[in-house]
Amino acid sequence: MKPANIEDFPLGGARFQCAAPAGPSSQPPGSAVLRGLRKYSKILRVSLIERMTYRGDFFLSTILRFLPMVTTILLWQAIYEGAEGSDKQPVRLSGYDLHAMIAYLLLVHISRMFSSMPGLAAGITRDIREGTLKKYLLQPIDMIAYLVSYRAAHKVAYIVTSSLPYALLFFLCRGYFDHFPSGETLALYLLSLLLGFLVGFFFEASIGMVGFWFLEVTSFLYIVNTVNFFISGQMFPLDLLPPFWAALLRALPFRYLAYFPAAVFLGRITGSDLLYGLLAEAAWVLFFIMLSRWLYRLGLRRYSAYGG
């Protein structure tokens, strides 16, 4: 059995994922840019309020999520004890000592907090299949921009509500963090997380657009998410893999969804590697933005707005 929530999380189900955009309101004065900004910030606000409705349920499932964390820590302790053998000399596996490894596995949760997009692709495909996509075409609103603001709101709400239990978790596990990163590293870490959000969003949006050609992409998405769980480095740092596989996975965009930010935080990626890594991350963001736009445009030509 694979993780039931392999694509993430206690966001409370996919029911709200693609709620219809708010109807056109009275036109506020100001330039077009300002109007656009106001429009999308309204969406942000509405979605934020919607999320907070289920805070109790939300809080409970966040707490439950810590159970696997406990067993993971215990498993890695046992792995390191096994590797130490009888001489009890602390070992490093591919450069990670036990503390760094556990810190990594904790930090992966933070990466996923930003980069996972539960229900995004499925929501887009559903809109295509059921014809509800036309709500975006009829109103002065861009679908992708709408979905970005909607998703950003959910992420903000999620991060805010779960910051308390996560703060507790990181406080309890503070012993595993040997050095706290410098301000500069921390800033770059934050940047890598934000770019990770964008990589995750536009990657999944691109998959959703495939729905213009195939009515059902959820099974395809299921496969992608299963593979992603491994190749994004959620099970262990990619450095542990044999050199060929590690190099291959470093060249793919998936590492930005989990591995890269965590490794930056731990100071595993520094100097020019860090710089090029961030540049490559930005390039992947651009690539997926263009890909999703292009697929959307191409797809709209085929779109026939089923069902009245």
């Binding site: 929530n5 159970l67 302790q77 491994f230 542990l240």
Partner: protein
């Protein structure tokens, strides 16, 4: 005896109906199957990588550990195939009030709620897990004895009984928690306790935790006992006896709890 036969016939009919329905969506079925295979490969790749770095984990050698993984995969697959999807629908049945139709039928409610359908694509996990166990066992070159195998089968059955009972407890709480929609997720979080050898629960705070999940909420016995009996020495006869006893007690207790929960059910919207 005739009642037993009747339920067997009923179950057979339900299984055949389910299979026919699954075959209507062949591609969907094949993709689900493919994802299960993929997931098994990811698990194996994970432990292959781990065992390039160490020769044992919590006292389990690579082959022994792979046997454990196979056992977990098979047992987890069994629960998922035969009970999990049924149980996860229970919350919906309560919310919509459709449970009424179940209660009216002249069939045992627990049978109908927890054994109605079979998720055939997960049933394949039992075979895949058995395959992994077989391969790992061959690598160990242990002398095979039927006696040991019989104890393994018995404990595997007990593991299923314990896991099923705990799942039924969890399901029954749906009567009170109306928004218990993600039983799949709850179950996944909960089973993280049975995914690893019991020996990892060592140390100041983990030991009491391991004790709690062995004797009070015996989820740690589920995969550990059968796997351990097959690939390690029979060094814990008391624990084996305890496992057999506890599986019987839990089956009865979970049934009582389920029936208690049903009595608290107030048919909605009808």
């Amino acid at each position: 005896m005739t009642a037993m036969l009747r339920y067997l016939r009923l179950y057979f009919a339900l299984a055949r109906y389910g299979l026919a329905r699954e075959m209507t969506f062949r591609w969907n079925f094949l993709i689900k199957l493919f994802v299960e295979v993929l997931w098994l490969f990811i698990l194996l790749a994970f432990y292959e990588t781990v065992f390039t770095k160490t020769s044992n984990v919590a006292g389990w050698t690579k082959s022994e550990y792979m046997f454990f993984v196979g056992c977990y995969f098979a047992l987890g697959g069994f629960i998922e195939a035969f009970f999990l999807s049924n149980c996860s629908e229970f919350a919906d049945l309560i919310r919509t009030g459709d449970l009424d139709f179940f209660l009216l039928k002249p069939i045992d409610e627990q049978f109908l709620v927890s054994c109605r359908e079979i998720d055939w694509s997960s049933a394949a996990n039992v075979l895949m897990g058995a395959g992994v166990m077989g391969l790992a066992y061959r690598q160990m070159a242990l002398p095979f004895t039927w006696g040991r195998f019989a104890v393994f089968v018995l404990l595997f059955g007990c593991g299923i009984a314990i896991a099923y009972s705990l799942l039924l407890f969890l399901t029954s709480t749906g009567v009170w928690f109306k928004r218990n929609q993600s039983l799949y997720e709850l179950w996944w979080l909960f089973t993280s306790l049975m995914r690893y050898p019991r020996e990892i629960f060592a140390g100041r705070w983990a030991y009491p935790l391991g004790w709690f999940f062995t004797y009070l909420v015996p989820v740690l016995l589920v995969v550990n006992l059968p796997a351990r009996t097959m690939v390690k020495l029979f060094d814990e006869p008391v624990l084996i006896g305890f496992t057999v006893a506890v599986s019987v007690v839990l089956l009865a207790a979970s049934r009582m709890f389920f029936r208690y929960a049903l009595r608290r059910y107030r048919s909605a919207s009808s």
